[in-house]
Every structure is written in structure tokens, then in C-alpha cells.
């Protein structure tokens, strides 16, 4: 079988890649997609822990399902905000959306 640490390192790699996308990209869609990468990495961890360390094999999956709910909500709301920003500002580059900047 695959050792648990392999899954954890893979999840860490996906998390770091998502973090890079979050910090380095300017497009709002890219930021949301990088966030999805982060949530996926967390889900891999939850399910791998549940599979390797949990007697009942249920709690990790329940938490992963809740992460799915949050991810869907975050995507829907983020893309709606993106469309609204596009209508008013004609841009989705995060560093050009600076109306609140002092």
C-alpha cells in the first residue's frame, strides 16, 4: 500500500502551488481557481487521514463533504462578484480594483 506520508506530501505540493497562484496571479478567476486547489489539498489530507487513521472511516468524509459545500458557495459568490465588478469597472485584475485604497 501507499504510505500515508506520500499523500500528505502530495497535498502539501498542491497547497503550495495554489498558494503561489494566489500570490502571483492578477486575474480574479485565477485566484478563485487557486483557492480551489488549496481546498482540494485540504480534502486529500482529510480523506487520507480518515482512511489511514480512523476506525469508523466516516468522519473524514463528512468533513470533506462540508469542504465541498464551502467550495461551491465560495466559487458561486466569487464569480458573481467578479461579474459585478466586470460590469462596473471593465476589469478583473485584482490590483486595478483599488477604489478603497487610501
Amino acid at each position: 500500500m501507499v504510505p500515508l506520508s506520500w499523500y500528505l506530501i502530495l497535498a502539501a505540493a498542491l497547497f503550495s502551488i495554489g498558494l503561489y497562484g494566489l500570490l502571483a496571479r492578477r486575474n480574479l478567476v485565477m485566484l478563485l481557481m487557486s483557492l480551489e486547489l488549496l481546498l482540494n489539498a485540504v480534502n486529500i489530507n482529510l480523506i487520507a487521514f480518515s482512511r489511514y487513521l480512523e476506525e469508523g472511516q466516516v468522519v473524514g468524509r463528512v468533513f470533506a463533504l462540508f469542504v465541498y459545500v464551502i467550495a461551491a458557495a465560495e466559487t458561486a459568490l466569487g464569480l458573481a462578484i467578479m461579474i459585478a465588478v466586470w460590469r462596473t469597472r471593465q476589469t478583473v485584475a485584482v490590483d486595478e480594483i483599488d477604489t478603497l485604497k487610501g
Binding site: 500500500m1 501507499v2 504510505p3 500515508l4 506520508s5 499523500y7 500528505l8 506530501i9 502530495l10 502539501a12 505540493a13 503550495s16 502551488i17 495554489g18 498558494l19 503561489y20 497562484g21 494566489l22 500570490l23 502571483a24 496571479r25 492578477r26 486575474n27 478567476v29 485565477m30 478563485l32 481557481m33 480551489e36 486547489l37 482540494n40 480534502n43 486529500i44 480523506i47 480518515s50 482512511r51 489511514y52 487513521l53 476506525e55 472511516q57 466516516v58 468524509r61 463528512v62 470533506a64 462540508f66 459545500v69 464551502i70 467550495a71 461551491a72 458557495a73 466559487t75 458561486a76 459568490l77 464569480l79 458573481a80 467578479m82 461579474i83 459585478a84 460590469r87 485584475a93 490590483d95
Partner: protein
């Protein structure tokens, strides 16, 4: 050390997933990034199959490949004309790469400090969806968070409709 089938499958899937994720965050074109994101999601679903939790793999395909990706494609269709992404100044990209690499290095170091088990505690459960469903809706389990999650989704989707409506 000889590699079993599961280990080889894991290494292949992991390499493809990480490569797709890297290509996604580096892609110039937003639409290419979305296609690569779908590849990452499919790779993660394959990992769930490898872990023996095929229900989560199905959910991954339904919600991410079926839902989130379609949402993202629709969103870039609405914001036509902003398909590309001008790069940030190189200085901040280097900074992001340094931060991400050090997070990865730190996490890997921490993970390797712990003697993790190399075998699952119990064999992969067969057809235990009923157990999962009962835990989700029983009062001793997660009934309240479950209902709160459905309320959250309802409110968020209404709010998204309101925010994105034509004025």
C-alpha cells in the same frame, strides 16, 4: 525496494496532478488554466479511487468537474475580452515563488518528522454509504451542520444571483 501496483499508480497520478497544477498557475491563457484545473480535479478523483473511497471520487467529479468548471467557463464567457492575464512585475512573482517553496519545504519537513502508518487501519469499507448518510442526518452525528450547510448554500446562491443580476 520494489513498487507495488498501488504505489506505481499513485506516483503516476501524483506526477500528472502536480504537473497539471503547476501548468495551471503558470498558464498565460485563462481558458487553458480552466482545462488544466479540470485535469487536476480528475487526478484528485483518481487518488480517491486509489484510497478506496469511490463515493468521494464521484462527488469530486460531480461537484468540481461538473459544477465548478462549468461555472468558471460561464464566468469567463460573460467577461469577454479579458481572457489573458498580464503578468505581475517579476519581483512579486519571485516573492510568491519563494513563499510557496518555503511553505512546501516546511510542510514536507514536518511531515517527514512523524512516523506515519504505511497501511490503512482497516480494509476499505464496501458499500458503507448508508452509514455515511445516517451519520450526516442523525442528531448524534452531523444533522445540525448538515442543515446549516444547506441553508448556507441556499443563501449564497440567492446572494450570488442578486449580486450578478443585470441592473
Amino acid at each position: 525496494m520494489t513498487l507495488g501496483f498501488g504505489q506505481i499508480a499513485f506516483l503516476v497520478i501524483a506526477a500528472l496532478t502536480v504537473a497539471a497544477a503547476l501548468a495551471m498557475v503558470l498558464a498565460r491563457h485563462i481558458f487553458h488554466a480552466i482545462l488544466l484545473m479540470i485535469a487536476v480535479f480528475v487526478g484528485v478523483a483518481a487518488l480517491y479511487v486509489l484510497l478506496g473511497v469511490s463515493f468521494m471520487a464521484g462527488m469530486q467529479l460531480f461537484i468540481y468537474v461538473g459544477g465548478v468548471s462549468v461555472l468558471a467557463v460561464l464566468a469567463i464567457m460573460v467577461t469577454r475580452g479579458f481572457m489573458g492575464d498580464r503578468p505581475r512585475p517579476a519581483r512579486s512573482t519571485y516573492g510568491a515563488a519563494v513563499v510557496a517553496a518555503s511553505v512546501f519545504g516546511g510542510l514536507t519537513w514536518l511531515i517527514l518528522q512523524v512516523p506515519w502508518p504505511s497501511e490503512p487501519l482497516v480494509p476499505a469499507p464496501q458499500n458503507d454509504l448508508a452509514v455515511l448518510g445516517q451519520v450526516l442526518v442523525s442528531r448524534a452525528g452531523y444533522a445540525v451542520p448538515f442543515e446549516l450547510a444547506s441553508l448556507l448554500l441556499f443563501v449564497v446562491l440567492l446572494g450570488a444571483l442578486y449580486i450578478a443580476r443585470e441592473r
